[in-house]
Symmetry: C2
Subunit: 186 residues, 2 copies
DNA sequence: ACCTGAACACCGTTCAAGT
DNA sequence: ACCTGAACACCGTTCAAGT
């Protein structure tokens, strides 16, 4: 029997997935290189081989992972915008542990591309100031998720009865989104 | 000559102010208990006497400090809401270093009181669902500031030419606020 | 190419001790 | 009451070394 080697070879993807899981379940402050190594069944130093800039690179990657979205253009620019917002919201609320990074780090890489794509789609569909619209839509999604996650009590002593979807938040979101889309064409 | 004693006695207030300054100028990750002690001309351990729960308490206090606002009720609920939003935005954008905490930590203490006060003022002024309105207003402010700070390039290698106010962000904010207030009474 | 071991500087927090 | 010194467990990161 050969000694235990990492059962699955390490990879950037696996590192990010595992880090995301730790952050979402235990909080960002408990995500350390050493703990991450443990979870990957590897010494912490091995991570540096796949993420050369270390923890800084890891944080960037996590933010990117929950802020890069892609949707197909829909019939109207309103429907396209709606799809972007819903997809972004879903992705962000699924990862409350890295929300602070997502709302705070300047968009880079896949996130920057994602923003450009969204802008192009809306412009193509005939929206006059697509760049301003995208800023407004992103702000709306960010704010909605922040308030929702705050009030869900995530990151609190009583993590007991979390998880239950807040239907009021869903209603708030759809209502606000409709109003925002009406406002954009005015 | 007596030996140098802390020139000004330590206090919760002074600790928070200094911590805020470090976070805003150097970033949250560089705000450590030891560096904070240095800046206060005191050993790090002295801080625990004023903030018994240590760094956790410090983070809570910082979030609270940039999130608790007070305004006097105005002529209409619209004007009151406007004042709240402008004051909150100003406070948050002045402290980009702790924005991640402010958007993420569940409201406690002075922040929770601030939210209740805002809700009461809007309800008193005759707004039907004041609680929903406050959630929407907070989400709007949070999102606006997040997008603005992200795009300002704060927390980036080139901190060179930061500081300049983005007039576009001001316009976006006022435009969005007007639209939101119109939407709330519908 | 990919991972480990040992080492270094730094961190948060405690606790007994000083004044 | 308020602050310090020493100590402990833990952290991020490097670098030479193993395979």
């Amino acid at each position: 029997m050969p000694a235990k080697r990492p059962p699955v070879p390490l990879s950037r993807e696996r590192i990010i997935e595992t880090a995301l899981h730790i952050a979402d379940t235990q909080g960002l402050r408990r995500l350390t290189m050493r703990r991450l190594g443990d979870a990957l069944q590897v010494e912490a130093m091995a991570i540096y081989h796949h993420l050369p800039r270390g923890k800084e690179a890891l944080m960037d990657a996590l933010a990117e992972h929950v802020t890069a979205v892609h949707v197909e253009p829909a019939a109207s620019w309103q429907d396209t915008a709606r799809a972007w917002c819903r997809a972004s919201r879903e992705l962000l609320r699924d990862h409350p542990g890295v929300l602070a990074l997502a709302l705070t780090k300047p968009p880079k890489g896949a996130t920057a591309i994602s923003i450009r794509e969204q802008t192009d789609q809306l412009a193509e569909a005939g929206l006059p100031d697509a760049a301003e619209a995208v800023r407004a839509l992103r702000a709306f999604v960010f704010g909605s998720v922040a308030v929702e996650v705050q009030q869900s009590g995530w990151a609190d002593p009583e993590v007991d009865e979390w998880v239950r979807r807040d239907e009021r938040a869903d209603a708030d979101f759809e209502r606000g989104l409709d109003a925002l889309l009406r406002g954009l064409r005015a």
